[in-house]
Symmetry: D2
């Protein structure tokens, strides 16, 4: 089962050509991941980072930009968990607007101990919830 949220293309997101400057997509993507963690995995980024001193940096990312997005566009962002390891998680993030795919991003996140600066196993509760959500890539 996937997680879905929406966002809107803001003035701050667009370039002189009137379309989204692509680094802004990754800010949107990160915002969607925050919502997913909090709503589906039971762990807010605030608790995670400031409380548990745990992070989820991106170690790998592959993006295909299919169609540009313009100022004012409403985008649907869908996150699908693909695979969960001891301390990593592969997800696919699809941005769509007006029934067209805008970009698709494959991301690998790693659970990191922010004090030790190295990877750590997912907390059991989080891993269990992640495993429940897995939809393997075709």
């Amino acid at each position: 089962m996937s997680f879905t949220t929406t966002t809107r293309v803001r003035f701050a997101d667009v370039d002189p050509a009137g379309i989204v400057f692509y680094p802004r997509y990754f800010e949107m993507l990160n915002g969607a991941v925050e919502d997913w963690f909090e709503q589906d995995l039971g762990l807010s980024f605030k608790d995670m980072h400031l409380g548990r001193r745990m992070g989820t940096p991106t170690v790998r990312l592959e993006a295909q930009f299919m169609a540009p997005s313009e100022l004012g566009d409403v985008l649907t962002i869908t996150i699908t968990a693909r695979e969960v390891g001891r301390s990593s998680c592969a997800i696919t993030v699809l941005f769509r607007g007006d029934d067209r795919d805008r970009l698709s991003v494959d991301v690998v996140l790693v659970c990191m101990d922010l004090e030790a600066r190295k990877s750590m196993p997912w907390p059991d509760v989080v891993r269990a919830k992640l495993q429940d959500q897995i939809v393997p890539a075709i």
Copy 2:
């Protein structure tokens, strides 16, 4: 009558101290102004910029930061129009969270012809709506 919207402090907004990096407040402020124009003044930023080739740059800004905001905080942003001129508009933008003022910003916007790169009078419909909203500063 004021316009109110809410936003949430994202990971992308906070600094190494865990609090909002202040330039991000101005991105939030600009997003709130976009919503206000579209919902209350009948003019979307898309139509304005890409269609009419009209912009509303900020010519003056005065901000007081009263209390820091943290990752995950939900902030209420209230925009109150203070004064409308031929081609300018003074507004006050107040950010609040958990019943505390976070920052208050006085902004002067100017209606600009993007082709000629100079100020132009507000379209009549916009000015009329702005005037209806005026709540003079005390």
Copy 3:
């Protein structure tokens, strides 16, 4: 004596009108303040934030935008210290390009203990250097 640095307007800084989106000016301003602290005051932002757990949040800011800046413009940023208090410092930051003032910003910074989340006195060495640099506003 003032501190001067230069920066260049990047694609990431400009809006659909081809001019700097103003929150980006405040990122440039903050970058200039980083350089000033490191080069003139002997305190890098890294040592300050990650080592000493000390920050310098902005508590007040007043900006006047005199002329727009375009993609590719080289801007000179000049920081002049105006007044130093026990834990605060008032500075003026002027952006110029092609012999024209682009914006002028008066900023009040406060020295903050990031653990206690309250103001703290400037370290003596920093205050001494700040005082040497004061050029009172006319």
Copy 4:
């Protein structure tokens, strides 16, 4: 032959964990591409976007994050052209600091006519210079 430039990790670039928030790397990458176009390919982003109404959007991107970067780090960014097509160009962008690879990004850019919103052939002068620079991936 590759193009090399340097940048510095700013306060604006780092997250609550004190390391670069990855969308900021893509802003740095885009800044490096701007310098490369202007210095090596003879085409500034200003002339390109505002004059010729031509853009170079990213259509594909693949990034591997090898080591985190911290506030104050000086990063070397090296751009190597890999392959040039009629209207596309594949490049590899490597970020290094203190003799360690931080991230490596494979990017495909496309030359776009901003009015027609479709791809267009590279101007001959640009393609010739791109071809001179090609270093095929191993």
